[in-house]
């Protein structure tokens, strides 16, 4: 078979397995895990467009997630409209916000997410304040009130689409230009690449992609809490998944999400039985893992796999 890198085969296999899961599995808990892993993967893939491909590391991407979540929740709960309209509104708002932030600096996303957190949690008259908004469940596709199986396919569709965006960024002219800007901005500019505009486009695309998943997440989970959707922990999680999986790679965000989400489920189940306060220990492990990974395996799981493959092919030669 020609010209399909090993990473792509893994992706095809992973997405293929997920597509077959609903055929054999009826366990709601397992399907729920699959949906969450796909949504986390899509969120991390969205972050990766800015943080990985454009090199614009952001620790405030929760801002766009929250915009998407609140757009949908307010649209459905307050105005009785379709969440798809909320999705479009969220994307429009995120494009504006992402454009401005991309133009300013990636440092300002933290400030932006904090401002949104304060507004969402204090503006009681409109957002219901710190209590959060329950998202009403109304069965049907137009209202996004779907069963588990339909959610698996919807989340899978978004995940595959986002993986496609990553592949496009790896193979297209724009993608090469972006890589040039990331690696050496001066050299790229000398070659006539409008580096700043390109970075703004990447951050804007990343913001819009994050917002879409924010909407889906709000509809799936059914509740929007300002302290969660705008939290710095959430922003860090997008980055963490991507870095552990492999920053700047198509598959990395999904592998990272698979690993971290499974680990979280396992550690939570293990430690929650011991003592009430021990539930937080998995986050201590995360933090430590992040320090160790960026120190010793900065290229993440995909990079580690590539390294091992090179070593084994040398051993065979």
């Amino acid at each position: 078979m020609p010209a399909l890198a090993p990473g792509r085969w893994v992706a095809v296999a992973l997405f293929g397995i997920v597509a077959l899961v609903p055929a054999g599995v009826r366990d709601a808990y397992l399907l729920d895990s699959v949906i969450l892993i796909l949504l986390w993967g899509a969120l991390s893939a969205a972050w990766n467009v800015a943080g990985g491909y454009a090199g614009q590391v952001s620790l405030g991407h929760a801002a766009f997630f929250g915009i998407g979540a609140y757009s949908a929740a307010l649209m459905t709960a307050r105005f009785q409209q379709s969440p798809w309209l909320g999705l479009m509104l969220g994307v429009a708002l995120s494009i504006v916000a992402g454009g401005v932030i991309g133009y300013l600096s990636n440092l300002s996303t933290i400030a932006f997410s904090q401002v949104l957190l304060i507004v969402a949690s204090r503006w009681r008259g409109f957002t219901a304040g710190s209590e959060g908004i329950p998202v009403p469940f109304r069965p049907g596709f137009w209202t996004l009130g779907l069963g588990h199986v339909a959610w698996v396919y919807l989340a899978l569709g978004v995940a595959v689409l986002y993986y496609g965006v990553a592949i496009w960024l790896e193979t297209s002219r724009v993608g090469y230009q972006l890589a040039g800007v990331r690696e050496d901005e001066d050299a790229a500019e000398a070659l006539g690449i409008a580096s700043r505009r390109l970075k703004v486009y990447a951050v804007t695309l990343s913001a819009a992609m994050t917002s879409v998943v924010g909407t889906l997440w709000a509809q799936y989970v059914g509740f929007v809490d300002p302290f969660y959707v705008f939290s710095i922990d959430l922003s860090v999680r997008f980055a963490l998944n991507t870095i552990i999986g492999g920053i700047g790679t198509g598959l990395g965000p999904f592998l990272g999400s698979l690993l971290i989400t499974s680990l979280e489920t396992y550690l939570r189940a293990t430690f929650s039985g011991m003592k009430t306060g021990f539930a937080g220990i998995y986050l201590v492990i995360y933090g430590t893992a992040l320090i160790l990974v960026v120190r010793f395996v900065p290229e993440g799981l995909t990079g580690l796999a590539a390294r091992l493959r090179v070593r084994s092919s040398r051993a065979h030669a």
Partner: protein, 304 residues
């Protein structure tokens, strides 16, 4: 209408009260920010875990007060060397390995440290709000139509003394000169025989000692909980960016500006919205003067 807001002689007192409140708050913010500024200015590392050391400082004060009945101002004498040691340890275990790595690696190392410390505190001491109420936090000083909490005045005085001592240390001692030389040109400093690893270790330790001391000082004024550092560290970033990224005098002026925005904003719009004002200020500064209000140096290396 609130009588204090009515026009007339009372208005003058309000202005004076707001002015002095700004200065008192600014002094404390300066001590929180100065360590972050120092670490950024010399090591070119944005320490996202800075607030967690402040939180640890608050807990040290809380436990010393609760278990041993020690006043936070007594604890200060122990906490400064203690946090200096913690700083050395953190540098050796965590920071040394990434000091020459890319900015992203450094950012995520300190972010990981922040997550780990926050949740270690949560596991060890739960998420309850812990308050220290020594006798001086209940004493109110009234003078010239203004009223102040004694703890706040003492915290301000100590914070200013420590900040000025650090400033003098950097300016006039040999070690301070060595540290500034390393900040200006790492390679040239190495060629002059400066052990830059030692300089970074000292810088990190001093930065952490400052923020640990700040944590102890603010403990009678703010509650301690695992994410208590967050509100201060976000504010400290604003201060550092306002002050021109790594410039210590700029950081002091930045602290005063942030404090003024907070005090005046809370007075007119309510305490609930105070953070919005300095974040808006922060974004405005990034739009208008990306290198900060008072500086140019170093903005480019942060990638902003």
């Amino acid at each position: 209408m609130d009588p204090a807001r009515r026009l007339g002689p009372a208005q003058i007192d309000v202005v004076a009260q707001l002015g002095v409140s700004t200065v008192l708050l600014g002094g404390i913010y300066a001590l929180v920010s100065v360590g972050l500024t120092l670490i950024f200015g010399i090591m070119r590392v944005v320490n996202f875990a800075h607030g967690e050391f402040l939180m640890l400082g608050m807990y040290v004060a809380f436990w010393a007060y609760t278990l041993l009945a020690l006043d936070p101002y007594v604890v200060l004498f122990v906490s400064i060397p203690l946090f200096f040691g913690i700083g050395v340890l953190t540098y050796v275990l965590v920071m040394r390995g990434v000091i020459h790595a890319s900015h992203n690696v450094q950012i995520f190392t300190t972010v990981g440290l922040s997550t780990a410390l926050q949740n270690a505190a949560l596991v060890a001491w739960t998420g309850d709000y812990r308050t220290v109420r020594p006798w001086h936090s209940a004493v109110v000083i009234r003078a010239l139509g203004m009223a102040f909490n004694l703890s706040q005045v003492v915290a301000f005085a100590i914070a200013v003394a420590l900040t000025l001592a650090l400033f003098a240390f950097m300016k006039w001692t040999h070690t301070g000169r060595v540290m500034r030389a390393t900040a200006q040109d790492h390679d040239a400093a190495t060629l002059m025989g400066i052990d830059t690893d030692k300089v970074y270790r000292l810088t990190f330790a001093i930065g952490i000692a400052c923020v640990g001391a700040a944590g102890v000082l603010v403990s009678p004024l703010y509650a301690a909980y695992p994410t208590a550092g967050l509100q201060f560290v976000l504010l400290a970033y604003v201060v550092v960016v306002l002050g021109g990224l790594g410039d210590m005098l700029g950081a002091m002026l930045g602290s005063l500006i942030v404090a003024a925005v907070e005090v005046v904003g809370s007075y007119f719009f309510g305490v609930a919205w105070k953070e919005v004002f300095y974040f808006v200020l922060f974004i405005a500064v990034l739009v208008l003067r990306p290198a900060g209000l008072f500086g140019q140096r170093g903005a480019e290396t942060l990638g902003v």
